[in-house]
Amino acid sequence: MRSPARLIVALAVAGVLAVFLVYTALAGTSTPQVVPSQLATQKPGKVSVVGTVVGPLRGESHSAAGLRFALRDIGGKTAAVVPVVYRGDSPPPLFAVGRHVVVGGRYEGGRLLGSSILTKCPSKYTASTSKS
């Protein structure tokens, strides 16, 4: 009796690939992840920006005008900052000036219209002896 094993494996691989293709065709949901200094060359659209929060923090995320702040590169080698307008749920409690955050949203007209903020957990494994 010929072993169906090869057939099974071939079908399985084909099946997985098919699922992948269907998914990427329908969803296509990868988001570019950039740092603020790269945003200038970015096309308008969905984007996810990793940076350090620059104050002052103005406004309130639930209001129409949103919470306004700026982001700059972690490590701060460039002075480039990107203005951010964040609207939505309250930002996570660790959100503060000087924090490393990931802001997701749309880049439009030189500004980042943020819809999600992720803050990083307290650091482990850092090379420096910084406190927070």
Binding site: S3, T29, P93, V102, K120, Y125, A127, K131
Partner: protein, 650 residues
């Protein structure tokens, strides 16, 4: 004292290299005394690593700030338990922990099996020596825990949000898992190197694999619970690369655990198992590379470190070694029997493996995607939660179903007729459950409903198995005692079902509401009525400032909930102290996060009701119980194995 630590690590490195080189030569040339010497070197390596660890632990407890490591991760006011847990809180210390566990496991595994696997162990020693050499080298030359400085007055301290029992338990548990996967890998490589075609290495490392897998799984659940209770965003898993770093080897190990059963019984899937065990090992090292190197962005922030390059090189070299070895020994790995039918237990195990590996590779792709796109397009792109959720459902739900069908299919071949007959009862039970669930409102989420129905099905099959088995052998205890691995496995399956129900309930059927409340105002969420009473500032605590919002809860539960934000003096960080009310009867959580606005009495509350979330934590306990049953030493089996393998004794 740091000198002793440094010296001990150099000694460890020397011993590990000796075990690799001398052990390799001894196995190759068949030299008995040299092989024993190499084995002793592994044991001595454990000894010297233990000394180094004792030095670091002592320095931590004694607040010896002349150690750079101690000064960076502790301070004088830190309680002793957290000072000790700082051992694995930093890069260098965690590497030392890795080496310690590796040498401990290695020395033990080799000592225990030195007679039963006399021909394989001489090859296992150099493999373990090689792995230990890498870690010892990194500890000596790249990231030493024993760098010294002029002692500052006080250390930097541990950020308060890491001062909790999870910090004490979660990393060591994960390490016991990660490192434990080295043992089956080393024995598999040893078996291949020695040219042995029998399955003794699987039998010998079975308990090691199960134990490592259990530690890794439980460690992940601990991490999830930590995130849920302490970090407080309302979730427990974010598909973050660091989380995935533990998930991937766990999935590979799960696949391996199942497919070795086939190799033992049928002599099939030999090449596949070699690949799987190597994959599990490589993923565990790769996972720690991801975690430490900073090469991917993660919410567990670890700075970019030069150590990443070394780890990557090790993963590449050991992968090439494993691949080369498998290809070299391919003729020895011919299957003894073939798969006879697509409807057989062998085939079911094969499907299980394919699904698990597919899920594992999906997660791996998601983790690597930012790196790949960065290299290819110059712009790094990330996959979001929807990607992972989709594939978790696409592969996880069939896997859940298979967990129920698999144990009921017979070996070699089952007719559709007899399978239908066996499954009739559980299928009917799950259909009935489905109807009840839809009536109860579960139809609002289709994947959730499917998950629930499949879970009911699997539970039905487990019950069926236990009932039939008890009837056949006379007593449940005797049934389980005579076949601990199988019934322990069923208990673990039950844990997975609980996990599935918990995840489905708390994600597909959860309610989330964000509402701004002034004092006196009320929010109604999913049967709870929350009234914001007042804000209480934290007073009288020199270490903390902040405030708590006090809410009165009515409806499903009557009581008071406090949720707030705490800032620790000296650390610029605000922690969320969420208010969670667990309703044990309904197994759901009321979860409230408060966000205070400055200059206003109003508070934004994020209110979540998460049904069945506590089943996830219960699943963790059941999981460990099931593993214990499976691991339990069986005196009769030991005797039988000893007599079976006795012909090999000389």
């Amino acid at each position: 004292m740091a000198d002793l630590g440094r010296a001990a690590l150099v000694v460890s490195l020397g011993l590990a290299v000796y075990a690799l080189v001398a052990g390799g030569y001894a196995a190759y040339a068949g030299r008995r005394r040299l092989a024993t010497s190499a084995r002793n070197a592994l044991l001595a390596c454990f000894g010297s690593t233990l000394v180094a660890s004792a030095v670091l632990a002592t320095a931590l407890v004694r607040h010896d700030f002349s150690f750079v490591y101690v000064a960076s991760h502790t301070n004088r006011t830190l309680p002793t338990i957290y000072a000790l847990s700082a051992f694995w809180g930093g890069q260098e210390g965690s590497l030392l922990l890795w080496l310690l566990v590796l040498t401990a496991y290695g020395a033990l595994a080799v000592a225990v099996n030195r007679r039963l696997l006399r021909d394989v162990v001489p090859w296992v020693v150099p493999v373990l020596g090689g792995i230990a050499s890498f870690f010892a080298f990194v500890l000596v030359a790249v990231a030493s825990p024993f760098d010294t400085q002029t002692a500052p007055v006080d250390g930097a301290g541990l950020t308060p949000s890491l001062q909790n029992p999870y910090m004490v338990a979660h990393p060591p548990m994960l390490y016991l898992g990660y490192v434990g996967l080295s043992i089956p890998f080393a024995f598999a490589a040893g078996a291949l190197l020695s040219g042995r075609t029998d399955e003794r290495w699987i039998v010998a490392t079975r308990r090691w694999t199960i134990a490592a897998w259990t530690f890794l799984g439980f460690g992940q659940l601990l991490g999830a619970h930590w995130a849920y209770v302490e970090v407080g965003w309302g979730g427990y898993y974010a598909w973050d690369p660091v989380e995935n770093a533990a998930l991937m080897p766990w999935l590979a190990a799960t696949a391996f655990l199942h497919s070795v059963m086939i190799q033992e019984r049928k002599g099939m899937l030999k090449v596949w198992n070699m690949v799987l065990v190597a994959l599990a090992f490589e993923l565990s090292v790769f996972g720690t590379f991801l975690t430490r190197s900073g090469v991917v962005n993660s919410i567990h922030s670890f700075a970019k470190s030069p150590i990443g390059g070394w780890f990557l090189a090790f993963v590449v070299i050991s992968s090439l070694f494993s691949l080369g070895l498998i290809l070299l020994r391919l003729p020895l790995l011919k299957a003894r029997t073939k798969l006879e039918s697509a409807l057989s237990r062998e085939a079911a195990f094969l499907y299980n493996n394919l699904l698990l590996v597919a899920l594992c590779l999906t997660v791996l792709w998601g983790v690597l995607f930012p790196i790949v796109t960065q290299l290819v397009k110059g712009e790094s792109r990330t996959m979001g939660r929807p990607y992972y959720d989709f594939f978790l459902r696409a592969f996880g739900l069939p896997l859940l179903l298979l967990m129920g069908i698999g144990p009921l299919i017979a070996w070699r071949k089952t007719s559709v007729r007899s399978l239908a007959r066996t499954l009739a009862w559980p299928v009917a039970a799950s259909a009935a459950a489905g109807v009840v669930l839809v009536a109860a409102g579960a139809g609002s989420s289709r994947p959730g409903l499917i998950a629930y129905t499949f879970s009911a099905f699997v539970l039905g099959t487990i019950v069926l198995e236990l009932v039939k088995g008890t009837r056949a052998t006379g007593s449940l205890v005797a049934l389980i005692a005579r076949n601990r691995r199988r019934y322990g496995g069923y208990v673990v399956h039950a844990a997975v079902v609980l996990l599935a129900i918990g995840i489905a309930g708390s994600s597909a059927y959860s309610t989330t509401r964000e509402q701004k409340l002034r004092p006196g105002q009320t929010a109604d969420v999913a049967g709870y009525r929350l009234t914001y009473l007042r804000t209480e500032p934290i007073v009288g605590d020199p270490n903390r400032t902040g405030q708590y919002a006090v809410l009165n809860v009515g409806g499903r539960w009557h009581g008071t909930l406090r949720t707030g934000q705490v800032t620790y003096t000296g650390f610029q960080e605000t922690d969320e102290d969420v208010g969670i009310k667990t309703d044990w009867l309904r197994a759901q959580d009321l979860y409230v996060i408060a966000n205070f606005t400055s200059g206003s009495q109003a508070v934004y509350f994020k209110i979540l009701v998460k049904p069945l979330v506590n089943l996830i934590w219960l699943a963790g306990i059941v999981f460990v119980l099931g593993s214990l049953v499976a691991l339990w030493p069986d005196a009769r089996e030991q005797r039988r194995l000893a007599t079976r393998l006795a012909p090999a004794h000389a």
